[in-house]
Symmetry: C2
Subunit: 347 residues, 2 copies
Amino acid sequence: MTELVTIKDVARRAGVSSATVSMVLNRVSASRISEATAERVRLAAAELGYAPNLLARGLRRRRTDTIAVLSDQIATTSLAPHMVRAIQDVAARNGLLVFMVNTEGDREVERSAVAALNQQRVDGFVYACLAHRVVEPPAGTGPNVVLLNGRMHRLRYPTVVPDDRGGARAAVSELLRHGHRRIGFINDRRNGLAARLRLVGYHEALSAFQVRFEPERVRYVLPGLDAGAAAARQLVEEAGVTALFCFNDRVAVGAYRGLRQRGLRVPGDVSVIGFDDHEFVADFADPPLTTVSLPHYAMGEWAVSMLVDLINGADGEPVLQVMPCEVVRRASVAPPGDQRYGLVKPP
Amino acid sequence: MTELVTIKDVARRAGVSSATVSMVLNRVSASRISEATAERVRLAAAELGYAPNLLARGLRRRRTDTIAVLSDQIATTSLAPHMVRAIQDVAARNGLLVFMVNTEGDREVERSAVAALNQQRVDGFVYACLAHRVVEPPAGTGPNVVLLNGRMHRLRYPTVVPDDRGGARAAVSELLRHGHRRIGFINDRRNGLAARLRLVGYHEALSAFQVRFEPERVRYVLPGLDAGAAAARQLVEEAGVTALFCFNDRVAVGAYRGLRQRGLRVPGDVSVIGFDDHEFVADFADPPLTTVSLPHYAMGEWAVSMLVDLINGADGEPVLQVMPCEVVRRASVAPPGDQRYGLVKPP
DNA sequence: CTGAAAGCGCTTACAG
DNA sequence: CTGAAAGCGCTTACAG
């Protein structure tokens, strides 16, 4: 780095004090500086290629125009790239630089990250989770915090989460509208927030169509390929379902596999809907998987916008923003026993 | 944020000067401070929960213990999560905080990001690319730069890239060892660094086994599902290949599809190898795809370690580190016409 | 062994 | 309309 030019250099060249330079460059309108002087200052600054030292400014202003994203793992998995992208976009648009730290959910790592970030005087925190769940953000963050894809037991910060319940309701309704009545649900046995909410959505859709809820049609698994395959086989054989709503796209791909092992075709024999709209999973499935998209971009956008508002002094009323989850229609849903699909994949 | 405690508060409570506090807390051994005084200072600091303001320290020390990761898109795609994780891990281990900015490859965005990061006085830059390619990092970064998964035309900074050539050679050798001699290669038609290097590896493997290179066995496509499917069909029908080496795992999944459309089974009729070891693509493929892994974690680790060395004054000799790419064996390779596989997926 | 002073590079009242 | 001064919170020679 060549020797950096400071505000003093600019002042000297423009023949004014550094206070004046600061004021014109920061457009402090309260101080009526003559246009001639201002012009001289701007010229000098441009000629010298002056750029203020943000450490000094931050030290003085007590505001750094930086934010921290604390996440359990979102930046290190393939699941939520759009969340990260949205955060970056909105931050850039607001002139904010972002510190990103992954804690892998470790409380101790979290604690020390918060300490370090505070010492850097970040203006605020986004606390982001990979999976929609109940969280307890670490202490010591100060008031400028927004929660992304996680919510506290008792709301304390502005929070944005996906509408898992509505998404599930939409997915199951999609199946019902195609004529299915015996609809299986392969849910997450860890029974987190997402699992519980999606179960509610499943219930709601059924009752809207006046279909009785049959407990044997829901199975709880540790989401994965093999578990999905096994659950799909059981639901078809033991509960006679004609359609499957799956906790996520990976389980759905597992279901595909289980069904194929039984010589059953998707969607000719059994329809399948997933959740997540997981890139390269849902769209790469064969047939391409109808699923429910998680509004990662919209959530990330909302979170940072809200944080910017907080930083700018908005009152931190702990609103809860629930972002809609939409059905993405591809090719894994058809009416039950639809013969048109009998020929798609010759046995 | 409650009123923050400064070094003066600690000094007052310990009955010493702030210089003394600074020295004991920073373990400046040159200054022989009595153990009694030091103990008093440490106690006072602990009691007050003192944590130095890093902006002030950075301003004074001209070193901030922060680094910047400038990437075209690595943090916003699902392709290289391990790269990000490695960066975070090594940074944390070295007490560094990391600014992450995605430029989407836009030169103007890059330029202004570098400016902002310089104003924040970051200690160094990692310039990271999603795909191994030739790059020209932006000017103005200063000397502490390392290149990750991209290399300059004429090496100027320490650089780490994957051994695409060796990876391709290993993949094709794997096929050759299984007895294949007519091996197709579906390459990337954009003909970037990776494509060219993998073609060399393909050549080398063939000649090591004394198999003639037949131009008609390599096809150039825009990597994607449909293109992969079409190329696979053509290579099988027109060039009679019994095995396919694919530019990436997504192309390989496309190839699966093309082969299936022709009633051909993997690996019973045709063996397939991909590249990337793309999570949820290679392992979720049916059958699970044998592929070549990209050493994302190792590359990220190397890059930040090297950057730390540079920051600590190592000479910035522009070494080029080539990280090995290994074959990940799954279930898509078998000897040509292997009948044991005839029954795996009944037609 | 420890303190007083200067200085990192800004911004912000305060004068005039 | 503009400058001199103080101060943000540290660290680093320099004295003694």
